[in-house]
Symmetry: C2
Subunit: 134 residues, 2 copies
DNA sequence: TTAAGTCAACGAAAGTCTTCGTACTTAATC
DNA sequence: GATTAAGTACGAAGACTTTCGTTGACTTAA
């Protein structure tokens, strides 16, 4: 029954490595993270132990170096993080967030076109649903 | 120069009240917040004192009830929060965040159309800029 | 002038998050 | 067997956030 709390910043960073690399040891995650940050080995170890305890990851202890795999899927976590921001800051309006996103991190023209096309598809799908609903 | 740290959750909640109401007393902010939450008066007071200390708000002490006003503008804070999420979770890609936003909080068909139109304007503006650049 | 209400100030407690040092265990190497 | 290396476990410290009780000052009404 536990609520689906959002992972902390450090946990999210580790989840991203696990999603990218697949099941990994602490050393492997530490190696991937060290490139960006200067976190110590035992810090990453402790975080991953906590994540296992929280149910964010599971570990296989059969080998000496335990192998961790994510227990939460990327899409769900991303949706949770974005949805939380939308609720807390944008009054539940996804489109308000989109406006700010595009002014904060301008996308390339190609990306904008792709987004526009995606929106078109979404709208078309809805109109089709309306037809059938009659 | 101090980095533009992002406000905490509770601070963001208070900022939203100040942005909406304009300069307000602690009691007024508490009243607006109490409707949603059960935070005590002194909690809000303390938070607003800290916000003044951090430079997120300024206060006018001429009256007995101090009047607080936001020192950071809404657009900037929103961009900072969204931009931080984009960097941390979506590898800097705004369009990836948009995709997740729309699957997390489906927008109305009208909003989707408005967004699509906005994207069209953005793209058109860029092509025009290209023309002039020649 | 006293009593009751309103407010700011302050400190402290509790909870989280992140970090790392240290100790213990197991495996490999000499 | 002794020593080094690689791992996990554990505890604790430090920073930050949020919460609230208590105190003292000031205001208003009785």
């Amino acid at each position: 029954m536990s609520g689906p709390k959002r992972p902390t910043d450090a946990e999210t960073e580790i989840l991203r490595v696990l999603w990218e690399r697949g099941p990994s040891t602490v050393r492997e995650v530490h190696g991937a993270l060290e490139a960006q940050r200067g976190t110590g080995y035992t810090t990453v170890l402790k975080l991953m132990q906590i994540m296992a305890q929280k149910g964010l990851a599971a570990r296989d202890e059969r080998k000496r170096s335990h192998v961790y795999r994510p227990l939460v899927d990327r899409e769900g976590v991303e949706e949770g993080l974005v949805g939380d921001l939308i609720d807390r800051v944008f009054d539940g309006s996804a489109s308000e967030l989109v406006v700010r996103a595009l002014s904060s991190k301008p996308a390339s023209t190609e990306e904008l076109s792709a987004l526009q096309a995606m929106l078109g598809d979404l709208i078309a799908a809805r109109e089709e649903g309306e037809e059938e609903g009659r």
